[in-house]
Amino acid sequence: MSSLKELAELVITGDIQKVKDATKQLLEAGEDPLRVINEGLIPGINEVGVRFKEGEMFVPEMMMSAQAMKAGVELAKEKIGGTDIPTAGKVVMGSVKGDLHDIGKNLVIMMLESSGFSIVDLGVDAPVEKFVQAVKEHKPQVVGMSALLTTTMPVMQEVIRALDKEGLRSKVKVVIGGAPVTQEYAEEIGADGYAPDAGTAVELCKQLLN
């Protein structure tokens, strides 16, 4: 019989099958699914985040841990049934119109998911209207935009303006990133934050929602 602490350890090792088995065991033994998530799976992935930041764990290891955690959360969710799991926040995220770079955006998404955020992924080449529509539909707390090209950076400003026009700007925090993006640019276009990498992006979102 594994404990919640052991479950967290299994998430860190990134062994999907073992995390599933241990989660099942705990649930079958009558453990509260919310506790399994919040005191087993999440602390595990949090530790992974810390170790990644310290340079002790690498991207593929983090990916496996994230998948293991998700598999565990799925099982726990089934047990709870319809009720929504409280998340750290909802984030709408996409690479803006004209931009097909998505590796960075996907990494940010993965790190946010691992930190308990729920994500609506708009993919690449996402036009302004798609962001506006997604904000209306999903009511996120944060809108994240990725641009790797100088030519697509202005689209981020267009999205902010469009949100403003629709009266949605005050309802969300806007964060931006990508290779040519800078803190100064974020300030210039009136975004709420910028992060140079995925780890910092998570801290930024947490900080903005506090």
Binding site: G55, F58, V59, P60, L100, I103, G104, L107, T150, T151, T152, M153, P154, A179, P180, T182, D197, A198
Partner: protein, 486 residues
């Protein structure tokens, strides 16, 4: 022997062969299997239609390319592409084992030579880089280096081209936003050589376009390429990957995938126009699993290029790789090591177009003095790659006899005659004894390179454009700008 040639037997030069023919075939077969079994995604309607009509299995926009069609198109693709400069001189024939160097395009940031600060790149940076490379002897072609962020994003590619071709008469490899801008840019280039006909017969521009790994061929990427073929303009159609993120992490898997993408490009090109001048290869960089940086300066990158160059030579096609692009943020010890290792290897491999020379911070930052330093590194690599002369005169038996036991060679005519060729002389690397160095103000190679860059910018002028060309280019940019707005 000229400075561009390597792996040629007039004078036996050092030869770098990475894998065996049997191993090359394995990669070739593996790529064919990918094309036939996994297939590619084609978002360009014209290409989709051509592929279907040529006999590919097509399911919506997923295309499965049979091996026979690949072989057929490999036969049609030109084995030699002769590239000219803006003055119409056919100076850059892309033939097996001729190695040419140039920088890369579109760096978002520049370390300002006046302030020493890192800032957003501007059109002036493109212009400066072009003039510096026009002057430096080991840059054979120009790319934009910086990005013209201070111009209208709709036409920033055209502004970059204007700055490049005005700042230098060397061949230009350009990036463009879409097919319409590609056409406008071709028009601009034609204006610089006295018309489209001259541009067709002596092309001095090459498009750089990319598929998106894994296995996606976009509307713009293919559209730009096709537009160029309509004007007989050569095209580099090569993926830029992050191994471990957009390709398998194993080197052989990364190369197999990239090669499949390149072969798909060759097929589309030849279906568009028989004999279409296409150049294969690509940027085979791994992703750093700690920082997510693009590892331009890593050993894996060079190792991949060794094989990719061999594959291109196996197909007999011109190829495109990179070297001299580093992860170091500034030109320091690390930058020197990364640049020298990679440049030396490409020189020995015999790759045709080696780009991205002088990139810092994993392809995000530029600094002109580093371009100058790399010119010295290329010089050293070319010198080394040219090999050792073994002739009776060079064996120097008579000279040894004349000096005899116990003498010295400093005053001998043989030394006087040969020392300049037999001992390479750098321009920026320091070789002073300590006291000599101190007396000259303890300058570093970067200080010397910076001084040289300032001198070039103050004094060097590229060959002039023909009358009216500057105005015509500006008119074309204005026209495209207006079209963008409407």
């Amino acid at each position: 022997m000229d400075k561009f040639r390597s792996n040629y037997d007039e004078q036996v030069t050092p030869r770098l062969t990475w894998i065996t023919d049997a191993q090359l075939e394995q990669i070739h077969y593996a790529s064919l299997e990918v094309l036939e079994r996994t297939g590619i995604l084609v978002q360009n309607q014209e290409a989709l239609k051509l592929l279907k009509e040529a006999g590919c299995r097509v399911r919506e926009n997923r295309v499965f390319i049979p091996a026979w069609l690949v072989e057929e198109c490999l036969r049609l693709a030109p084995k030699r592409i002769c590239v000219a400069d803006r003055l119409g001189r056919r100076i850059m024939p892309l033939e097996k084992n001729r190695v040419y160097y140039g920088t890369g395009s579109d760096l978002p940031f520049t370390v300002d030579i006046d302030t020493g600060e890192r800032r957003v790149s501007r059109k002036e940076d493109v212009s400066r880089a072009a003039r510096v490379m026009d002057y430096l002897p080991n840059y054979d072609f120009i790319m934009s280096y910086a990005i013209a962020s201070d111009t209208n994003p709709c036409v920033s590619d055209l502004h970059q081209f204007e700055a490049m071709t005005t700042g230098s008469s060397k061949p230009v490899i350009f990036t463009a936003h879409n097919a319409a801008n590609t056409e406008a840019l071709i028009e601009m280039a034609a204006a610089c050589v006295g018309g489209e006909d001259n541009l067709r017969s002596n092309p001095y521009i090459i498009l750089y376009s990319e598929p998106i790994s894994p296995l996606v061929h976009t509307n713009d990427g293919v559209g730009k390429m096709f537009k160029c073929f309509e004007y007989d303009i050569p095209v580099v159609y090569t993926p830029g990957v992050l191994a471990g993120a957009t390709t398998p992490v194993t080197k052989a898997g990364c190369i197999t995938l990239m090669n499949a993408e390149g072969l798909a490009g060759v097929v589309m090109a030849q279906l568009k126009k028989k004999g279409a001048p296409i150049i294969i290869g690509g940027g085979a960089t791994p992703m750093d699993m700690k920082t997510t940086a693009t590892l331009y300066g890593a050993p894996e990158t060079s190792m991949n290029y060794a094989i990719m160059t061999q594959i291109a030579q196996f197909y007999g096609l011109p190829n495109f790789t990179e070297a001299g692009c580093v992860n170091a943020p500034l030109p320091d010890v690390q930058a020197g090591v990364e640049a020298a290792m990679t440049i030396m290897l490409t020189q020995l491999e015999g790759c045709n177009l080696v780009h991205d020379v002088g990139y810092l911070e994993g392809g995000k930052t530029g600094y002109l003095p580093f371009l100058a330093i790399c010119d010295d590194i290329i010089d050293m690599a070319r010198y080394t790659g040219a090999g050792t002369r073994i002739t009776p005169e060079h064996l120097a038996v008579d000279c040894i006899h004349e000096v005899g036991p116990g003498g010295n060679y400093m005053g001998h005519e043989h030394t006087f005659k040969h020392f300049r060729e037999e001992i390479w002389a750098p321009r920026f690397f320091i070789r002073y004894l300590w006291e000599q160095w101190e007396a000259r103000g303890k300058q570093t190679p970067v200080d010397l390179a910076l001084a040289k860059v300032r001198e070039i910018l103050a004094g060097h002028q590229a060959a002039a454009l023909p009358e009216g060309a500057a105005e015509e280019m500006q008119a074309i940019i204005r026209r495209r700008e207006a079209e963008c707005r409407s």
